[in-house]
């Protein structure tokens, strides 16, 4: 005891204590969350903070009747309405100049779970996390959802997302029934075989065909999977995937392509979730893990050059380390997202997704090598990440991105916010889109509109039908947003 007391009198003892404490704090400093969306004081934005716009007001309605009243009044008074959830879309889909924004986050109740028929009825403002928490004790899981669970149901359906499950198509296919507040203010129950075909326009309709109030979704078992990872050359992937989809051992699958200078678009990793036959009711939903480390590694990669090579090596080591591990379906559908936060003033990170037919993959990757620089360390336009997911053919929705079985390339891009930097990024992404279209592909619409209107019209040949139906179902054009303004009007 005396020795401890003596020790504590030494200045270095307190120095060590301070150092330890500082390290603990450093480790626990939360990753900064951007201020975006409806929380801004004067101008509304969405996730990227691009396209700031003034809106008339943001309304948090208490119930459906109040929503209905707002829509009817807007039809009478010529007001414009937009619908917002968590605003992860990046092209101004959730607001309109001087319009009214319906903040749907309060409509987040789980209304009914039918364990026998494996369905859930849930309000559109609930998040996928809410749904996962509700279905977990029943041993159930979603059929299709995004890789993260931070989005609202209404938002995901409005952009008709696809997931990682290679057995199912886009999310729209898993909706059995929907309650819709139509643009003219009627509340309707809509089913898949509804003669008015509302679902065809509402899903992937980007909030232009009324307000989704609730939906009944198909569920499946909360299966236990074994994670299988494998390193491939990009030219091996096409045949690898054909075999994978043929042998039916795998439920979910995605791949990560190298953007590091030394293996740029040459190397890739596949991550498969293979059936074990087991199902789970007990495993809790996992929280965000290793956020600080992942953020540190990603920030390292963001520096480009040799550091991006180190980042890719780190990713490979991590992916190898999860090979053979078991995971439940629910947990496989909730990847970490906080580590991707990027808040450097004067710069922005955006997503783009390009779809190319499965059979065009190899040629597309080869052409991409000519378009993009392997080492973008000294460039303003930087590609930080490419993941590949399978998107099955969608015959259902009008603005369908998968006209046949496609691979979706999800791209994380960083560029500056000066006028010339945005112009450079726009030119680059337009070239990329052109290349994608030459390979029979399309691009995804929830992101910032770098593309030209001509590229939109060519990628989505049914846009005229979409416009026609919009004007027929919403004759006063009450439901508006910046996406509609730019592309469709």
């Amino acid at each position: 005891m005396k020795r401890v007391r003596e020790l504590s009198k030494k200045p270095w003892f307190l120095g060590i204590l301070v150092t330890i404490f500082v390290v603990v704090i450093l480790w626990n400093i939360p990753i900064e969350k951007r201020k975006y969306g409806l929380s801004q004081n004067s101008l509304v934005t969405d996730y990227t903070g691009l396209l700031p716009e003034r809106v008339e007001k943001v309304v948090k309605a208490k119930n459906r009747n109040e929503l209905q009243k707002i829509v009817k009044q807007a039809n009478k008074n010529g007001e414009k309405i937009s619908v917002a959830g968590l605003q992860h879309s990046q092209g101004g889909h959730t607001y309109y100049k001087d319009g009214v924004v319906l903040d749907m986050r309060t409509f987040n109740k789980i209304l009914e779970i039918d364990e026998l028929h494996k369905t859930i009825r849930v309000e559109a403002g609930a998040t996928w996390e809410d749904v996962q928490e509700a279905v977990l004790p029943h041993g159930l899981a979603l059929k299709v959802t995004q890789s993260q669970s931070v989005f609202t149901i209404g938002g995901s359906l409005s952009v008709n997302v696809h997931g990682r499950d290679i057995r199912f198509g886009p999310m729209a296919e898993t909706v059995k029934e929907m309650t819709l507040l139509t643009p003219t203010g009627e509340i309707k129950k809509v089913t898949r075989d509804d003669s008015e075909e509302w679902m065809k326009y509402v899903f992937g309709g980007y909030g232009l065909f009324g307000v989704i109030l609730d939906v009944t979704l198909d569920l499946t078992e909360n299966d236990i999977y074994t994670i299988h990872t494998e390193k491939l050359k990009t030219d091996e992937y096409e045949s690898y995937f054909k075999n994978l989809s043929g042998d039916r051992k795998t439920a979910m699958h995605y791949a990560r392509v190298s953007v590091a200078p030394s293996s740029f678009l040459d190397e890739m990793y596949v991550i498969n979730y293979n059936y074990t036959g087991g199902q789970d009711r007990k495993t809790l939903l996992k929280g965000e893990q290793g956020v600080q480390l992942s953020k540190l590694a990603l920030d390292l990669g963001r520096q480009g050059g040799a550091l991006e090579d180190i980042f890719w090596k780190t990713q490979k080591r991590y992916i190898r380390s999860i090979n053979g591990k078991k995971i439940t379906r629910n947990n496989a559908m909730r990847s970490e997202s906080t580590f991707m936060e990027y808040t450097k003033p004067g710069r922005v990170e955006v997503l783009q997704e390009f779809f190319v037919p499965v059979y065009s993959y190899e040629e597309y990757i080869n052409d991409l090598k000519h378009l993009l620089k392997a080492n973008d360390k000294n460039d303003d336009f930087k590609v930080h990440n490419i993941t590949v997911r399978y998107a099955a053919k969608d015959n259902f929705t009008t603005l369908n991105y998968a006209k046949e079985d496609m691979f979706g390339f999800v791209i994380l891009i960083q560029h500056g916010l000066k006028e010339e930097e945005i112009a450079n990024a726009t030119a680059m992404i337009q070239k990329w889109t052109r290349l994608t279209m030459e390979h029979g592909g399309t691009y995804y619409l929830p992101y910032y509109r770098y593309q030209t209107k001509e590229q939109f019209k060519e990628s989505y040949p049914k846009w005229e039908k979409f416009q026609e139906e919009k004007l027929r179902r919403d004759p006063n054009e009450v439901f508006q947003n910046l996406f509609y303004d730019y592309y469709v009007k």
Binding site: K9, I25, E32, T343
Partner: protein
């Protein structure tokens, strides 16, 4: 009390530290993302102050205190604080470092001050002066705490410079 600097500067620094405290707190709260982090920043400051105090206590030659540099160091931290205009991603890490440096310097200064003959007299005076100053400041509309933090930072640097000059003259 042969030298005026020996009499006035520690008093100015002690009073200033207490007066600037509310403004510094406002700034610190603004840059802390959460209350937990705010509290941790304070804890880091406090531990570092204990460390600084102990460093001076165990110092062999207490006459070579380098106190002028301590004033200037504290001044630089305050000026640096006021130079941070925008919130940026690594700001909490920078703030943590500043808190530790400030705590270390303040602890060292306090230990040095407590060894001075004027310490007990200063204790009474500083309470009185702070009381009056805070009443005066209550009528001043705060545009931004950063303005006061900058002024105090500059004042500390001047104190450091003055003390250094006086020491050289005396030496």
């Amino acid at each position: 009390m042969n030298r005026k600097s020996e009499w006035y500067i520690p008093l100015v620094v002690t009073v200033g530290q207490v007066v600037i405290f509310p403004y510094y707190i406002i700034w610190l709260k603004q840059v802390s993302l959460t209350f937990t982090l705010f509290a941790w920043f304070f804890a880091a400051f406090s531990f570092a102050a204990a460390w600084g105090y102990r460093i001076f206590q165990t110092k062999q030659n207490k006459n070579a205190s380098y106190i002028a540099f301590i004033y200037a160091g504290m001044g630089c931290v305050y000026i640096l604080t006021s130079c941070i205009k925008n919130s940026f991603e690594s700001l909490p890490y920078v703030v943590l470092l500043l808190q530790v440096i400030l705590g270390l310097l303040q602890g060292y200064f306090r230990a040095w001050h407590s060894m001075q003959k004027t310490y007990h007299l200063h204790a009474v005076h500083h309470y009185l002066i702070v009381g009056f100053m805070m009443i005066v400041f209550s009528f001043v509309k705060v545009i931004s705490p950063v303005v006061f933090i900058t002024i105090f930072g500059l004042l500390l640097c001047i104190c450091g410079f003055w003390d250094l000059i006086r020491n050289k003259e005396a030496g």
